[in-house]
Amino acid sequence: MSAPLTATRAPDDMVAGTPGEEATVPTSRRTRWGAPTWALAGGVVAVWVVVSVLADGSNTLYLPGLGRTGFHDYFSDLKVDLIRGRDTNVVMQVVGALSDVFNAAVGWLQDVFSRADLPRPVPQVGYLGVLGIAGWCTLAVAGWRLAVAVEVGLVAVGLLGYWADSLDTLIVTFFAVGIALLIGMPLAIWIGCSRLARTVATPVLDVLQTMPAFVYLAPFALFFSIGPAIAVAVTVLYALPPAVRIAAHGIQMVSRTTIEATDSLGQTRWQRLAKVQLPMARKTIIVGVNQTIMAALSMVVIAGFVNSPGLGQPVLEALAAGRVGSALTSGLCIVILAILLDRVTTEASERSETLARSGGRGRAHWIGLGVAAVVALVMVYLSRLELRFAEFPTTSLGGTIASAVDSFAGWVTDHIGGVTTAIQRGTTNGLLNPLQDLIAGSPWFVTGTALLLLAGVLAGVRGALSTAVCLGGIYMTGLWYDAMVTLTSVLVATVFVMILAVVLGVWMARSRVVERALRPLLDAAQVMPPFVYLIPVLLLFDPTRFTAIFAAVVYAAPVAIKLVADGVKQVPEATIEAATAAGSTPWQLITKVQLPMARGHLVLAANQGLLYVLAMVVIGGLVGGGALGYDVVLGFSQNEYFGKGVAAGIAIVLLGVMVDRVARRAAETSGTSRSGAT
């Protein structure tokens, strides 16, 4: 499950049920209810539709865009109290002192690598020196091929015109990832070794991962002051969960027999951890580091909202001025950095594995590294001496690409704007509005009951219980109507993601050419910050809910497509040959053999797709998605609505947990009943 997810951002498993844990409750649904599941679900929906029409839009708990409730004001008042008491608040003083340290450390690194260390007109180490150091480090951990790739990549971001911003992004990312690992590894060990710790930590990690950063960005600015420290803090919060989850998973997966065998030699618990569990989990832990870096990079633009140094700034500036081209070139730099970091950490983990087995390297390797070190040093020395080795040469390349993109985008919107508007209106009228009328337009207690019954039918008693708790929470937030609108959009987007995933995933798995062509595109699309393509998407579709859904699908589809492709490819060759020999048509092969056998991956793809779609709710709010996404942005933008933003953030978390739990239980349930039947 871990290896093939190159450059994946979200965690593999968001949920209490770790891969090893099997569902025990459900047996065949048919026997318990006396009717097939789909018939029951259909019945619930039919009744729901009838009642909804009869109720005619009453009791929907609709709250105007700028409306507030007491629950919202409670949080807003809390924040005002924080502001009023900031000179005497001890926690703030302590955090403030800590963030001064962060700011100083990041500032020092910037002086060394990325900004003029005044009165010196350039940083202490110029671009040539940075190339030398980066190349040598890559060579040492990941070999010469990747060292070359790193050099090419860094030169590329320089040529695009974002040398300093890219280095700032690297500095903040490394700093944040370092802290995330410092906090995350002990946590992971604890969770990996204790069931109780896992039970406690899982919901906390769920919340950290689904709570939109916009909710806590403004209050964080109170504690951490405005500067790199807040970016580091926000990034750490978001990058922590994957580090903890994956490393803990690695530790848990160390085979029990190995532990028992070494225990019988009389080792202490500490020895067991240090000599057995950690070394054996090393590869998984490095995958965790890789995922942590990717998560940290996905916060680059968000952190730009609070003036974090780095590539987020040019992306946001381009967005404000409506410049598609320069948004793309700066976004491209983030993609380049992400892909380089991903490949280097992946290669490093594989090397460490091989080396640990083969027991070290020969003398030639060390001599090579030594020579490279001398070259790197000369490069550093030169870059400290001469301006031409210190300042990255300015070129017109970035500007040329940007204006080419601008005119291309202009051409596209001029020529297909009519078609895209028709698609947007058709989908909204034909699919989105009827669905929303049902889910959000019914009285709240009707929708609530219907959702509970559906959860019960599809996911059993435990699924219904999770749903009840989450729906209760959403009611409390005072944002029921908005939550239901968002739920509708999220469901529609996830369905689109899965359609794309199945079609493209199967195609990729069946054709090497397609695979070769698509995979790099998918990798890039997955790490491209969505802010980059907001304007083109807006120009195609206007600010509407469909636009938000479209952007979410673009963002979420790559990971789902890759998962489905990997799943289909894992179907044993022998099975396929047997089916072909028995006379299956390609269509039969796909629908009867490949897809059913890739079921586990399909479920994972749906789960990941859903999480990615949820992560886009707030960004959707920026392009006309409205509802909870808009509420969160409003809360971040206006002091009086801070509490409404918090409430919307809570509602998003609850929606995420609800849909995730129901989908998982449903998958386990139907899986068990099917295997029972065959």
Binding site: P64, G65, L66, V80, I83, R86, D87, G96, L118, R120, P121, Q124, A140, L217, A218, A221, L222, S225, I226, F305, V306, N307, E317, L319, A320, G322, S352, L355, G359, W366, A373, A376, V380, L385, E386, L387, G399, A402, T413, G417, T421, R425, T428, L432, N433, I535, L538, L539, D542, P543, T544, L622, V623, G624, G626, V633, S637, Q638, N639, E640
Partner: protein, 332 residues
């Protein structure tokens, strides 16, 4: 083993790097050392009394124009070091008290924030207003120019219901769609719609980028659109949106956000500074206090940035060099 070797090697590399740095930095020739000396003497000549200025940059291009023009003048003529901080309004104001922000150069009026931070309104006294920028903000309801031509009477609000069906979209639930603004902005369109009995529904664009994209597309494709917009705004010089007249603003008619049934007031845009900055005696403070220009000035600089794709620094430099008398007036 492996790890130890790598770390030994890294260690020795670091030591060597330090040695190399010492050589490079120790005035051993090279043009960087020379440039460094130049910078030092320039700083000494300027007197170095100005120091750092933390300029908040709120996310719209007109604001950027003000900020970078003031910053450019401060840096080049007063020897200050302006640090630009890209922040939204709310977070910028938080920064006054912590010393992270010295100047908000264009404020559209935030009564709630003033209550929190202005001493004369019961706040903590971390911020104060230092007068108007000279720009007059006009917020209101706008339509793309083609609509004003095609339907000349649309610019009177009392005719809006007649045209409501034109504006219907799948988002607006059978009514006309009114495109609401970026959530950062002062707005009460939902109240205006209901208090004037207009057959419209406010659909929020969610961001300024989204609103601009929508108006741009509406003008290009001649599709109907009505929404919240404002001047001065660079986009208006590209697509001259036409303002719809709501019932005229009278004193107090917008005091209760729920009861508003009139147009938005014209806003004298204000300059807000941190009180500590005001008391610091920095020459940059006097510059900020004296800074004043017109809507046309701002639109010009903003269009350098947004239409011509210049960096804000270059745009500011171009304007400052072309307008020496105005700049001179701020410095006296």
């Amino acid at each position: 083993m492996e790890f130890r070797k790598v770390s030994t090697l890294t260690g020795s590399l670091a030591v060597l790097a330090l040695v190399a740095s010492a050589c490079g930095g120790g005035g051993g020739g090279g043009d960087i050392a020379a440039a460094e000396k130049d910078n030092e003497s320039v700083a000494a000549a300027a007197g170095g009394e100005c120091g750092e200025v933390n300029m908040a940059v709120n996310p719209w291009v007109g604001y950027e124009a003000d900020a970078y023009v003031v910053g450019y003048v401060a840096d080049t003529m007063l020897g200050c070091q302006t640090t630009y901080k890209n922040l939204k309004e709310e977070v910028s104001w938080q920064g006054f008290g912590s010393g992270d922000v010295d100047v908000v150069i264009e404020d559209w009026g935030h009564p709630d924030l003033e209550k929190l931070y202005f001493a004369d309104q019961g706040g903590d006294g971390s911020a104060e207003s230092v007068g108007a920028t000279g720009n007059v903000g006009v917020i209101g309801w706008y339509v793309p120019p083609w609509m004003a031509q095609e339907y000349p009477d649309i610019t009177d609000w009392s005719n809006l219901n007649k045209y409501a069906s034109l504006f219907e979209t799948p988002e607006s639930g059978g009514k006309g769609q009114f495109l609401g603004a970026d959530p950062s902005y002062v707005q009460y369109d939902e109240s205006i719609v209901s208090n004037l009995d207009l057959d419209f529904k406010v659909v929020f664009s969610g961001s300024e980028s989204a609103s601009i994209a929508a108006f741009q597309k509406a003008e290009e494709n001649k599709t109907p659109l009505i929404g919240y917009f404002y001047e001065p705004q660079w986009f208006i010089s590209t697509v001259p949106l036409v303002k719809v007249d709501l019932p005229a603003y009278t004193d107090g008619c917008a005091d209760d956000a729920k009861a508003v049934a009139c147009d938005y007031p014209e806003t004298q845009l204000q300059k807000i500074v941190a009180s500590d900055f005001a008391d610091s005696g920095s020459p940059a403070f006097d510059l900020v206090k004296n800074f004043e220009w017109t809507n046309d000035d701002q639109n010009l600089v903003a269009s350098y940035i947004a239409d011509d794709g210049m960096s804000p620094e270059d745009a500011a430099q171009k304007w400052v060099e072309a307008n020496p008398d105005k700049v001179e007036a701020w410095l006296s």
